[in-house]
Symmetry: D2
Subunit: 337 residues, 4 copies
């Protein structure tokens, strides 16, 4: 089996997870270098994993002919220009989601990808979760008829810091974006979006006109109707559920809990919560998405989800903001972002 | 314990259920007469239950001083005038929901009730379901903080006949009306409604501009956001679920299934469906609502839910139709029905 | 539909349940008289239910040609002689379990039944529970192969009074007896019994050499092996579960809980307990067993479970005591009680 | 953090799992060599994981001062002499369970361990499963009172080959042995054992007087009673469950299933099976047990479970055979193996 020589740019929280996965769990990969502008952060990861080459400036990697693929896990606001540079260097790209939270930067990247013909896979890791994939398999098989209603529940354990929230694009762009992608993954294209929301648990979000609780309704091109509900504060853990209701049945993906123990006592039955947050919950999905990327690189097959999927998710998130602000449904055909 | 002498008007499907409950399970009641314009229908119920007096015309009952309370379970389009007559005769009234599907008739009834000072309880039986009541207890106790998100799933087993659908007021008024009432029961007053919907399983509904699948989003006065999802065709049985998500936790009422058996085989685990429809699912609720009504009559306490609750549910259903047709959110303050 | 004229002898705890069921829920029955040596107890039940005839001495009922069937729910130690008398009077009999806790009395009754040719159904109500029946249906259908392992969990909410325990025959005869019958119902005849047990929660049981916690293993004639576990003190409610594991799968009947609500908070998920005890848990089973009895009387079909089933359950309970005391397995073929 | 230089002897099915875990997931380890008498098997694992030194004869490793610890995962019948040799070479030992299936060899090994003072941990991996650990935490905390009943369900997906079964020591020694250890882990010492069993699914086991289905009852020193049930053929996957019922409640560890999806259709609800077998089910336990071993080596702390635990499990398995053959309970105090 041919291994792909890969470099990682950005080895912070999620970048270090990807790097560990590449070294320990993804046999298709050979990690030849890692990079972080905080060199000591990259060095610590390299020491832990026995990676020999560590660089501070990603430009150093671009000329290395030995590097076939690059995984980008830097801050979101740097994705666009790094992807541009890496694509122009002719390397295959896996980039954390989203490419950018503005459409202009996103379109610029997509343009580069089209011209350079490199592969670009975007890190919508939830598509690789075994339960969400199983729901999609059931639904697309047709065994329970045509989809009628989609319901996605996505609730974070606690609100983001004020600093983070200020530059994240807000709840629809840093959080619901996953659900827009999941909705498209499960059902298909979305024609119209309507969003309601409120500040109920993190009052400081009022200062930046963000919300912490929302419901977004969706009209799909195939007639299915959908609802996403989001909260920034789920005290019982990261709540990640999904239902597709169809004309011949339904398929529900529930939470994975910390253990299977049920304790009974005078007060009733008690059982364990879901894990705290995405790193634990989607540990396997983070591996599977990168494994698939490398297999596509190796076998020269098309990757998925693509930069276009990232663009659609950002466009939908922006439409949700427009809807919330104007308090009216937004038709995607007419919405230019 | 003083028993209340009660008569039942309308002994068809749900009226016969109420009559059986009154005779067999509700010790507070003494059924002195039953009435149906199809006399043979009433007679069969009377024979089964040993009820002595059977009449065809409800006016006969109005002058009977011995009758203290009346349960009305006739067709919806007759509720308003029967309630008016019975109220004017000074009898306490339990009436199946809704009082009427138009606001003018409803207001007329409410006016009569106000003038005659009789009690009027409306049959929103789901408020008396033990699991939905338990959710409300948890939420209103404050032990899991303030409510943030409400989600109600209400799906019928199969679409109504064309005949029924033509005069029922359509999906928002014959089906979602239960959910509007449940939403108010769980969370409080609703300020704004937005509805989307489609015909996906019963094409004949297109002829009357009805829908068979919908999602309705709600903004509550207290800041909570809500979503209702409805379908006319749930092949795995009557799907009746509810979640209230709060700042300090959540409370979910699931389905009650036909039995508790889980069978494992090569294909996985298999378990039983919910019961077919409302008569089975809410059997206990139908008893509890009437028992409470009779206790309130006996003890001269205020009943609930009231005619005003019926009016609000109808108003919300009408607003949902307005929203669907105009494709915009409807503010209840501005909506006159 | 012909109704059966029935009298009830013994209207205490379980007798009053049966009487209410006969009047309210079992259309096949016409309750013509009830009897209790504490006349005021019977009178109160009669008043509640509108039963006209109340007697203190059951002999009064025996000559009444109008009475076709009798339900006996007196103290266990009176079952045998009452059944004898009623059988000799030619009436069909439903008797609470067991007929007697000693084999001599049981055999005497069985002899009378054989001679008088009346029907005798014994009140092993759990055979009529919808979930246990469903397990049996699955297993006997053969769809999951041949049975290999049976496991029954039967745990009472709290220990019996010392007074009750003294004359009940002890844990194997007043409690495990249900499980012996269930084991035979699910799998078939039992060839060997081995019992272990201990006093762990109710120390006063040591005085009468009873136990409060036990496990009984069973060898069935068809090769299946089984285990019953019992406790006198289940603080989370009446624990009633059953598994049949087969060569091609398994079938598990779980508990029915008080409601379906799951509450999540910082401490995890919390859900409702099973109901407190048998009157709640087997409410439907108590109705179904008597309904079936009356249908068999009406249609002149054989009843089940029979007096012979009661004898087998008592014999197995006695064998369990023998096993516990001698600390060795007991072969049923060699055990004479 | 100091890493421990470790070698692996035996890199077949479970040995290769351990080696991968050591390299990829256990940072406390530095794998310096691996060994298998089938050199090509070891070489393939070494190639996959980048391990430099591969040997065929484990004696080569004994003199290597650089090797501090050895993990032994060879065939069971070689454990005893390899452990002896490795212990005499002064190296810390993790050995797959059991040390031997006969007590003489086991005692010989325990004697060597006592003399050489090396650490010896035995691979009862289920003690490291998060759900079984959680049950033990709950029970030993005392929050649900004293333990009364233990029930362990352990069912393999399919019967072993005739070849394997012939030399494995039979069902009680190759399969129930895990349950004996789990029983001691959860509750404590066992005083008496009684076993029943049968050949119901794999007729060829009759030839070697083995069984494929069994129930073992246990009396514990602290008064708790227990039952283990085992089958060689669970078609719905590897069934691994456990209940400890206590005077103040219970704690149940259920199966972990392949995904969380529940599909509803006309036939009811359908959900996923447990994973196929132990390598999938206990993947995390295999990592945790070796991690703890290495931490104890590093910090010079006592290991657990020990060789003595292996001896007890083997003794109990042998007692179960004795019980089955003689059809009587076996007191451990009097049983010499």
């Amino acid at each position: 089996m041919r291994q792909i020589n890969i470099a990682v740019i950005g080895t912070g929280r999620i970048g270090s997870v990807h790097t560990r996965n590449l070294v320990r769990s993804i046999h298709e990969a050979n990690v030849v270098a890692i990079c972080d502008i905080r060199l000591e952060v990259a060095q610590a990861v390299a020491d832990e994993l026995g990676i020999e080459r560590v660089v501070k400036d990603y430009h150093e990697l671009l000329e290395d002919k030995n590097i076939e693929a690059v995984l980008i896990a830097t801050n979101t606001d740097t994705h666009a220009f790094i992807v541009n540079d890496v694509a122009k260097a002719g390397k295959q790209i896996f980039c954390e989601k989203p490419l950018a939270i503005d459409l202009a930067s996103t379109d610029d990247v997509l343009d580069t990808i089209e011209k350079t013909k490199v592969k670009l896979q975007v890190g919508f890791n939830r598509r690789f979760d075994k339960s969400f994939k199983r729901v999609r398999e059931i639904v697309t098989s047709g065994e329970i008829g045509r989809p009628c209603i989609l319901h996605i529940t996505n609730r974070d354990p606690e609100p983001p810091s004020f600093e983070y929230a200020k530059s994240s694009g807000g709840m629809f762009l840093d959080m619901s974006i996953h659900d827009f992608d999941m909705a498209r993954f499960q059902i298909g294209e979305i024609e119209e979006v309507y969003a309601i929301g409120n500040v109920l648990v993190a009052p400081y979000l009022n200062e930046i006109a963000d919300v912490d609780t929302n419901i977004i309704t969706l009209k799909f091109a195939n007639g299915t109707v959908g609802a996403i509900d989001n909260s920034r504060q789920s005290v019982y853990g990261y709540d990640q559920r999904l239902e597709v209701f169809c004309s011949g049945g339904n398929a529900i993906a529930g939470n994975e809990n910390e253990n299977t123990v049920v304790m009974g006592n005078k007060g009733g039955y008690h059982s364990a919560k879901p894990p705290y947050f995405f790193i634990q919950r989607y540990a396997d999905g983070y591996i599977e998405e990168v494994r698939q990327f490398l297999q596509c690189v190796r076998d020269n097959k098309p990757v998925s989800p693509t930069g276009q999927d990232s663009r659609m998710a950002v466009l939908l998130g922006s439409a949700a903001w427009e809807s919330l602000r104007k308090n009216r449904p937004i038709r995607m055909k007419e919405f230019k972002g």
